[in-house]
Amino acid sequence: MSTFIAITISGLALGAVYFLIASGLSLIYGLMDVLNFAHGVFLTLGAYAGWAVAAHLPRLGFAGVVVAAAAAGAAVAAATEVLLIRPLYGRPISQILVTIGLDLALVGLLEGGFGSDSLSIAVPAWLASVTAIGGERIPNGDFLALGAGLAVLGALAWFLRRTRYGMIIRAGAENRDMVRALGIDVGRAFTVVFAVGGAAAGLAGLLNSVVFSGALVNPTQGDQLLIFAFIVVVIGGLGSIIGSAIAAVLVGLIQVYVTFYAGTGAGLAQLGNVSVVLVLAVVLLVRPRGLLGRAA
């Protein structure tokens, strides 16, 4: 039983990281109809920014590392919207191509600058430690990821429900022209959405490194996660933050349960990933708009 609790917490923590990535993707698609394939590299850059602060500015502590990761993700995402996406609104194929190109270019730059080998982030002792619950030793990193996921979910819900900017974003998802016709600079709202999504992605990149990847960062880590984030967004329903949260938990739990109980024998190592794809297929067949997506 205690093992079950441990892997459940691990699955929830993985789901929290997926949610951090998927929430940005879902917001960006929900408001702007942009399928952002550069989102993975926002994660990677967040992790590298965290590594840089941990390595060169250790006096800022782990809080500084977290802030740097989120800020890097936000800055790169905002710049991407302003410089590359804004001239291409209404041209979805061009948007897809330019975001794929940006991803490839930035990953190449990271490999050129830092090498393709992983770099190690210095983490505080408490983060590398465990907490005993019911006789099971739970990594503190799992609690950190869970807490971050819940905090971002709460902050996003507050932002979208309680702030005027959040209302503008929700309204823009319904009718962009009418938002403009009320005197609102929709372009600025788009930049804010990209920045918010990028901040969550940067944070996710850092958490993925310190919680699930042995405190290592590498140039392709974001792209490896992006596919699961897209699966979460589709299962949750495009544009639905709550749908993304539910789907992220579902995907995270299924992945760790199947991986753990199926074992790692020959041909079984990837069963966790395969099971997630099967869930996606079932959702697409039974409910194509996802769990909480709007009807087309």
Partner: protein, 233 residues
């Protein structure tokens, strides 16, 4: 009549949508003050004209709004000159509450919720209700309330009585009658009785161009009204 520039001045306005020329050189002036009705049969380009004035449709030609030449401006910049736009189909944000629909419209000077709630008391009672669950008439109150929240000297109102019950038509007309005391209104309207009650000036479009400019009283001429609009006055 004000000695200043017209509230709206358009010269050679041309708009093509999907390869079809909807406006083929519209020239018009809307004087400051009162209500000017933009009339014409279905499909002659009335809504297209309004949307072009605020940059929601790409167009060619010269457009001046409240003394500013706005051709090529982004929509939000034109609106912030002091323009309010009430679209043909209300376009309230269905997933937002009445209060949130109003809050989004906080983009002008002298925000005054009491002014809106005074004109539409029902909106205060329904402030927490999702706009998508309102009746057509109530949604029209939200759409008009949004543009009255701030002080705006020019309102572009597209078919404000379309699809409304007689009770709501009367209520909307009463409100516009009060609003015209403080703002210039350019109104698209198919209901000739509403036009005769509210408007002082009429501009009639036909085949993408202005076919007639005159006073609202001109519509009393049965033959003229039938020729221009295809309806009896």
């Amino acid at each position: 009549m004000s000695a200043g520039p017209p509230a709206v001045e358009v010269a050679g306005l041309r708009v093509a949508i999907g390869g079809s020329q909807v406006l083929a050189g519209v020239d018009l002036q809307v004087p400051v003050g009162g209500v000017t009705a933009l009339l014409g049969r279905n499909g002659v380009g009335k809504t297209t004209t309004l949307r072009s004035l605020i940059g929601l449709l790409p167009s060619a030609g010269d457009i001046s709004v409240l003394g500013h030449r706005v051709s090529g401006w982004a929509t939000h910049r034109i609106i912030r000159l002091g323009v309010g736009y009430v679209p043909e189909d209300r376009d309230v944000f269905a997933g937002l509450s009445v209060r949130e629909n109003l809050r989004i419209a906080e983009t002008g000077p002298d925000l005054d919720y009491d002014r809106v709630y005074d004109l539409f008391p029902e909106l205060r009672q329904r402030s927490r209700q999702l706009a998508g669950t309102l009746s057509g008439g109530q949604q029209q109150m939200v759409a008009i309330g949004r543009v009255l929240l701030a002080r705006r000297p020019l309102l572009l109102v597209d078919e404000p009585t379309k699809g409304l019950s007689p009770k709501f038509v009367s209520e909307v007309v009463d409100v516009l009658e009060r609003v015209r005391e403080t703002a210039t209104i350019l109104m698209v309207e198919q209901n000739v009785h509403v036009v005769r009650r509210l408007a002082q000036h009429v501009i009639v479009l036909d085949r993408g161009a202005v076919a007639y400019v005159g006073e609202a009283g001109d519509l009393d001429d049965e033959k003229l009204a039938r020729r221009l609009l295809g309806v009896s006055a």
